[in-house]
């Protein structure tokens, strides 16, 4: 043993014994003589050896029987500790496990130096000798470390730093000593304690590879999910799995299930020059199984077999907060390649399905028990139900009432408002009552205890509609014409049924330009350029025809089938809506459900139509977008692309898709230009492009 290490260890031992353990030669109170026949609960958790020392760690319930000594022996060496020479420390986990309420120090550890190397042999035996004569023998793997590592463990133990301790212990776990030569260790009585008795020559090489630097930064659980974040330097020895343990459960996340992300902070700290995604995060939907936080730990296993155990305390949050964490992390993660492409790959492997399932569980729970309040008169059932999903902005309830009401035909319609903002409940109840008094329209208010998302909320609201015609309307949509309701009713009566089974409407920005005249699909090919190669990813994009076009560009307003219409305004037969299963509820918060519904309808033979019934749409002003929504958008695009990528690629791509049901209808009379639009007409109106007569859509023939 070198003088320097010997000095250090002496200092450690002195410090520890001075602060925690009784003095070596301090007289002890005699324990009452009490015959014992059964060994009390105990554990020998680690024996760590280095070239110059040995450390033993464990716990023992010696409240009834006193501990006499602990002997340690390995191949070629042995040693022992009198009870007074061991440090006794508090162990909360043991106290919990034993239900011990007192202040007994169950934990023990002891450290001894040696003149010569003790690093021999893969197994060792530890004997716990009780004062009453009972002896328990425990065989276990000894862990070999360097002197500095052993010193670090000792310091960690002295400081109570469990995390560092566990890290070092885990670092050693896969590297047991292997030399076995030596003579049997002397037994208690004439034995030397608190030092290693060397009985064989030292190993020529004790340089074991170390567990790479890593950190588990967050371990968060909820009633329905688990989320973990950290980083790991696995450049040379790749991550194999992460195992999360708690009392009575464990989860093993394969490396392929984890997102690997760029961590500039880690790169800087490690001085890493090469491109390597040090960061990792994982998410798991636990299918309603609540994982207890008690006794949680995280084990990081590498492909070489090395692993580290981290005593990571799991924080518990509710499902909504956990979803927010996962989505925010997804949205804010950095990658070396194209962020969209890389995020999609992360979702592909495992995370996408987990987030979708978890989110759906949240939505289902939220819509299961709504509070429903009706403010309705005694008149006949309405002809149409305007379903509006509110989020964040209560004023749209009274603004819509004010601007939808007052025109011809509105008395035949009802509002069904559903709120995804529980904090607005009182205000909305007040506003709905006020609106009923002020405008006289029937309204139903459905209050949800959380944000169920657009699809689930609208589906839930439809269940409370009293008519056979559903109008899905965004809160920031307002009629262009005061008599919109009469126009809508007349349109239903005048147009063929297949054209109105599901239709959308031209929508305009506040500046009078076109916001929506139907939607089409594009396929983006995302490229992620990495040194390891080029990743490709096809992603669907939903586009509006001619967004921002002047109002006089009527080719986007005329009645025609389109690949999809926006959910900002959508009029649909209730029976058809229900046949289609309503909006798909897999999307997070809201996006793509409208296109998804239209594609479901098209798949069943009925494309969505545009009908010339105009509305204002103050897009994006009817709700409040938060960072977590960006993560939702990524998941939704991933899901939509996975669900409909092949369908779109077949014959729905582009502004002029070749799908037979989307052939333009026969030329119709030009719709009259409303006065409000006419004022926007420039003096020299360009001549419309010549149109050709095209066959009646197959869907129309079938209807």
């Amino acid at each position: 043993m070198s003088d320097r290490v010997a000095e250090i260890l002496e200092e450690e031992i002195s410090a520890i014994t001075a602060s925690r353990a009784p003095a070596h030669n301090q007289p002890r109170e005699p324990r009452p003589a009490r015959p014992a026949t059964q060994m009390p609960p105990y554990s020998v958790e680690s024996v760590i050896v280095s070239e110059s020392g040995v450390l033993v760690i464990g716990w023992l319930d010696d409240r009834e029987q006193g501990l006499e000594a602990i002997r340690v022996s390995g191949d070629g060496w042995s040693g022992g500790f009198a009870a007074a020479e061991l440090s006794r420390v508090r162990r909360n986990d043991v106290e919990r496990a034993l239900g011990a309420g007192g202040a007994h120090a169950f934990g023990y550890w002891g450290l001894a130096g040696t003149e010569r190397s003790a690093s021999r042999g893969s197994t060792c035996a530890v004997e716990i000798v009780m004062a009453g004569g009972l002896i328990a023998r425990h065989d276990l793997e000894a862990h070999e470390v360097s002197d500095p590592a052993l010193r670090r463990v000792a310091i960690a133990y002295r400081a109570g730093n469990q995390r560092v301790l566990e890290e070092v212990v885990a670092l050693l776990a896969s590297r047991p000593v292997t030399e076995t030569a030596g003579s049997p260790a002397p037994r208690a009585g004439g034995e030397r304690r608190n030092q290693v008795v060397v009985t064989a020559a030292p190993s020529p090489s004790l340089a074991a590879p170390a567990m790479p630097t890593h950190s588990v930064e967050a371990l968060v659980g909820s009633p329905g999910g688990l989320f973990i974040v950290g980083w790991l330097d696995d450049r040379n020895d790749r991550l194999d799995a992460i195992r999360v343990r708690g009392e009575g459960w464990h989860v093993t996340l394969d490396a392929s299930a984890l997102a690997r992300v760029r961590r500039r902070d880690v790169e800087a700290a490690l001085g890493a020059g090469q491109q390597h995604a040090f960061g990792f995060w994982g998410f798991l939907a636990t299918e309603g199984r609540t994982l207890g936080a008690a006794g949680s730990s995280v084990e990081i296993a590498l492909r070489s077999g090395a692993f580290a155990s981290n005593n990571a305390a799991m924080r518990t949050v509710d499902d909504v907060e956990l979803r927010g964490m996962a989505l925010s992390y997804l949205a804010s993660s950095e990658y070396f390649g194209n962020p969209s492409v890389e995020a999609m790959h992360c979702l592909d492997a495992f995370l996408g399905d987990q987030i979708v399932a978890f989110n759906k569980g949240i939505s289902n729970a939220i819509v299961a028990n709504p509070y429903v309040r009706r403010f309705i008169g005694s008149g006949p059932a309405p002809r149409g139900s305007i379903v509006v999903c509110l989020y964040g902005k209560p004023e749209y309830l009274f603004l819509q009432n004010a601007l939808f009401a007052g025109g011809r035909g509105m008395e035949e319609y009802e509002f069904v408002y559903i709120s995804n903002s529980p904090e607005l409940a009182e205000r909305l109840l007040r506003e709905a009552r006020l609106a009923r008094t002020t405008y006289g329209l029937d309204q139903t208010l459905v209050l949800l205890p959380g944000n169920a998302g657009f699809g689930a909320a609208n589906n839930a609201a439809v269940a409370h509609c009293r008519s056979d015609r559903i109008l899905i309307v965004n809160p920031d949509v307002f009629p262009y014409h005061a008599d919109w309701a009469a126009r809508h009713s007349e349109l239903l009566a005048a147009r063929p049924a297949q054209e109105t089974r599901l239709f959308g409407a031209p929508l305009y920005y506040d500046d009078g330009t076109l916001m929506h005249g139907g939607m089409h699909f594009e396929i983006d090919t995302g490229l992620s350029m990495e040194t390891s190669g080029i990743k490709q990813r096809k992603l669907l994009r939903v586009e509006h025809f001619a967004k921002g076009a002047p109002a006089w560009a009527e080719q986007f307003n005329r009645p025609r089938p389109v690949p999809a219409v926006t959910g900002a305004f959508m009029s649909v037969e209730r029976a058809w809506f229900e046949t289609l299963g309503g909006f798909t509820e897999d999307y997070v918060f809201g996006h793509y459900e409208d296109a998804d519904l239209c594609l479901k309808s098209l798949q069943r033979g009925y494309p969505a139509w545009i009908q010339d019934l105009r509305f204002w749409h103050l897009e994006g002003k009817g709700s409040i977008r938060q960072p977590v929504h960006e993560g939702g958008s990524l998941v939704n695009r991933w899901l939509f692309s996975r669900s409909w990528g092949d369908t779109v690629a077949a014959d729905l791509e582009g502004k002029m898709p070749t799908h037979p049901l989307l052939a333009a209808p026969a030329e119709e009379a030009e719709p009259p230009v409303p006065a409000a639009v006419a004022t926007l007409t420039p003096p020299a109106r360009p001549a419309p492009a010549p149109r050709t007569r095209r066959p009646t859509p197959a869907g129309a023939r079938r209807a």
């Binding site: 004023e395 009274f398 603004l399 004010a402 601007l403 007052g406 025109g407 011809r408 007040r430 009552r433 006020l434 008094t437 002020t438 405008y439 006289g440 920031d476 307002f478 005061a482 008599d483 506040d510 500046d511 204002w616 103050l618 002003k621």
Partner: protein, 429 residues
């Protein structure tokens, strides 16, 4: 004919032009044969002692025909009633009273949506709405003064309004206009006290055939007119009104500073008014000036601050001045103070915009100066102090201001006019 006058505040509880004129009308209608007026005046939660537990509309101090609308939970952005129970009480009040005419003087603290409630409750009643400033058009306190540079604004648009309120997107102002128009559409007729206001409102969208100018009329507070002595030095000036930024008191004070710097000090300015606490950017400047002025020896003081006044004190205050200065830096839609000055034969020196420019003929019955221009005002002050014949000529050009009776007659004609076709159609639908 039963007429319900719905007023922003009661003038005896909260002073202001809209409520003052509404109350003049109320008193005038009372004197009319065959007219049964009722006043419903709002109060807000700044007067909690007048709120009665569980009540929403109550009487006022035992006065017959006067009621208080106990406003609460008011939405000052959308100018909307916030309490369903209050609105339901208003409906009950309407059904109990069943007025032939409901005449709104402003909607602040009441809710612009009360017009729709009124129309829905009493489809056949006549609804008249009097604009007392530009709150329907302008969210910046209805002043139409741009918050970007304090310049006068001549029209609203979503983007221009967004520039005054950068934290609110243009779409919000697009909605605001529709919200306001939707409820104002419930009225049959609209009135403004001045013609220039009509231009703002018709440009904003109010139909030209439904908006009329009915000047604000007041009873005469000066029953004993005395003939002025000609050829006197007329160097006493007065300001009457609220000391809020847009009333422009600071312009007078800067003019005084200018003249003092020039060594011209043979004049006095008396400030009559209150509510300096509501001033914003000008508050410190005005307070600082008045403090400095008070610190001067009495013989050096030019500006005297007299504080607030009641209409009954007007004669005394007017007797101490020769000229009334109306230096408003906003449009000043009518300027009741001009009428009051004229009642006492005092020529008015006023900013050359809005209601002031419309009512005062420059060089005939008063003088203009460029709005906000303190140096120009200083030149006018020096001129009128030194041109001893000028006051006599301008005072002789003053015609009596609109009388209460004229205003009552104007409104009665409107109450009796056939309902406009558009309004009837709106009701029918």
């Amino acid at each position: 004919m039963k007429v319900l006058l719905v007023s922003l505040f009661h003038p005896e509880l909260v002073r202001g032009g809209a409520q003052q004129i509404c109350y003049e009308l109320f008193e005038g209608l009372r004197e009319q044969e065959g007219v049964e007026p009722t006043l419903l005046a709002s109060i807000d939660e700044s007067l909690p002692a007048l709120f009665k537990s569980g009540a929403r509309i109550t009487g006022f101090d035992g006065r017959p025909g006067e009621f208080l609308f106990l406003s609460r939970d008011y939405d000052y952005w959308w100018n909307k009633a916030g309490d369903p129970l209050l609105v339901e009480s208003y409906v009950e009040f309407l059904l109990m009273l069943r007025p032939d005419v409901v005449h709104f003087h402003h909607f602040l603290t009441l809710g612009v949506d009360l017009l729709t409630v009124t129309r829905r409750t009493l489809p056949d009643c006549r609804i008249v709405f009097t604009f007392h400033e530009f709150l329907s058009i302008c969210a910046a306190d209805g002043q139409m003064v741009r918050r970007t540079d304090s310049s006068l604004c001549d029209h609203a648009s979503p983007v221009r309004c967004h520039q005054c309120f950068p934290d609110r997107p243009p779409e919000e102002f697009f909605m605001r206009q529709r919200w306001m128009r939707r409820h104002l559409d419930a009225a049959d007729y609209y009135t403004t006290p001045s013609r220039f206001m009509m231009r703002h409102y018709t440009r904003w969208g109010i139909p030209e055939n439904r908006i009329f100018c009915v000047p604000n009329g007041q009873r005469n507070y000066n029953p004993a007119v005395t003939k002025p002595e000609p050829g006197q030095v007329r160097n006493r000036f007065g300001f009457f009104g609220q000391l809020v930024d847009n009333k422009g008191v600071h312009v007078i004070l800067r003019a005084v500073q200018q003249l003092r710097a020039e060594g011209f000090t043979d004049f006095t300015v008396e400030i009559n008014g209150d509510n300096l606490r509501y001033a914003r950017e000008r508050k410190a400047e005005i307070e600082g000036f008045l403090e400095d002025e008070r610190a001067r020896p009495a013989e050096e003081q030019i500006v005297l601050f007299n504080g607030s006044y009641h209409v009954d004190q007007l004669a005394g205050r007017m007797a101490r001045i020769d000229w009334c200065i109306v230096p408003s830096v906003w449009w000043e839609i009518f300027g009741l103070v001009i009428s009051e000055a004229w009642m006492f034969g005092k020529p008015v020196i006023a900013s050359n915009v809005g209601g002031m420019a419309e009512r005062i003929a420059d060089g005939v019955n008063g003088l203009h100066f460029p709005v906000g221009d303190a140096r120009a005002l200083a030149r006018v002050i020096r001129r009128v102090c030194t041109d001893t014949g000028l006051w006599d000529r301008l005072a002789a050009g003053i015609t009596p201001p609109p009388a209460r009776e004229e205003m009552v007659a104007g409104y009665r004609a409107l109450y009796a006019a056939p309902r406009p076709e558009a309004a009837l159609q709106a009701v029918a639908s």
